[in-house]
């Protein structure tokens, strides 16, 4: 039996659960299997009776690289619908607050996934960016709105248009991330933040989570509709597949 790509386990503090994305070989890229196991890990967390806060963790050097190149090829070829679009909804719909511990790099859809969390901790030395336009197609997974959860609209637009991967330290003093820390301190800080939330009553946490996430959930539905239309146009460009292959060349 192969190692699971995503797992749930109780955390070190009372009421804190951890979902860990741990596909080292695949750099936590989103494949159909990854999406399936991610959803299953969240379902397992939600079924854990003591759960009050969930920490979403990646690998120490890689939070997630976003959609797998195979999935991108299939999307461009019109062979599949993007299943990774399920992932933001899984995080939004989690009944309790989610803290993203983004120790490693988060790229494209991987960054979008982390930004679906209610609170986000990033690492100074890791890189974060919305690389969609480097591959010639418009952003997806709600990214056109999710970035403004933590960045000013102007800075979000810079990242979306340039596709640049910025070091976490770049965001010092100009972002709304909960903390920007040396990589080794990210997970302990995220767990500590979760513990400070987890002593509240579950029923109140659930209500506050739904209320605070409502604008982003509504924005996500709106954005997903627009982004899907943009994808139909941009994926049809003959330049896109060549750019995807170039960006993913070893």
């Amino acid at each position: 039996m192969s190692t699971p790509l995503c797992v749930f386990e109780p955390g070190p503090h009372e009421g804190v659960g951890v979902v860990r994305m741990q596909d080292a070989a695949g750099k936590n890229a989103m494949t159909e299997r990854f999406v399936h196991e991610f959803v299953a890990a969240f379902r397992a967390a939600e079924a854990w009776a003591p759960l009050r806060v969930l920490v979403l963790q990646g690998l120490p050097d890689m939070f997630s690289t976003g959609a797998h190149v195979g999935m991108l090829r299939d999307l461009v070829g019109g062979r599949v619908a993007p299943s990774d679009i399920l992932l933001p909804k899984v995080v939004f719909d989690c009944p309790v607050p989610v803290v993203a511990a983004m120790e490693g790099h988060a790229i494209g859809g991987g960054l979008a996934l982390g930004l679906c969390a209610d609170m986000v901790v990033i690492a100074r030395e890791s890189r974060y960016g919305a690389t969609f336009m480097n591959m010639g197609f418009t952003p997806g997974m709600g990214m056109t709105r999710l970035l403004t959860h933590v960045l000013s609209p102007a800075l979000a637009h810079e990242l979306l248009f340039t596709g640049e991967l910025k070091r976490g330290s770049f965001f010092d003093g100009k972002s709304g991330f909960n903390a920007i820390l040396p990589r080794a301190e990210v997970l302990p800080a995220a767990l500590d933040l979760a513990a400070r939330v987890a002593d509240k009553p579950r029923v109140s946490l659930e209500m506050l989570k739904r209320t605070l996430s409502l604008p982003r959930r509504q924005a996500f539905e709106h954005t997903h509709t627009i982004e899907s239309l943009m994808h139909r146009v941009s994926f049809a460009s003959p330049e896109v597949l060549a750019r995807i292959e170039d960006v993913h060349a070893e």
């Binding site: 050097d61 790099h105 790229i107 100074r124 030395e125 890791s126 890189r127 640049e164 991967l165 070091r167 330290s169 170039d246 960006v247 060349a249 070893e250």
Partner: protein, 89 residues
Amino acid sequence: MTREQVMTVVVKHLAEAVDGLDPANIDASRSMKDLGANSLDIVEVVSSSMRELKIKIPRSELAKLTNLDGLVDLLFRTVQESQAQAKAP
């Protein structure tokens, strides 16, 4: 443009990408990884350098490189070819 000028561009972007790296003490026979750059730092150094030098090299070519000297050689050669093409009638 000389090879030294290309080296200056690359070193500038490398120093921006890696915390605590002294541009005056970079050994170009070493790889960027040895000099403290992670995989995405390397992507950004190469992308920024190509942008500044106004050239484009396929990633499949870049993937064969093993050290900073090799990168600078490839960038310099491409700059020369680009300049020669621009001068051609």
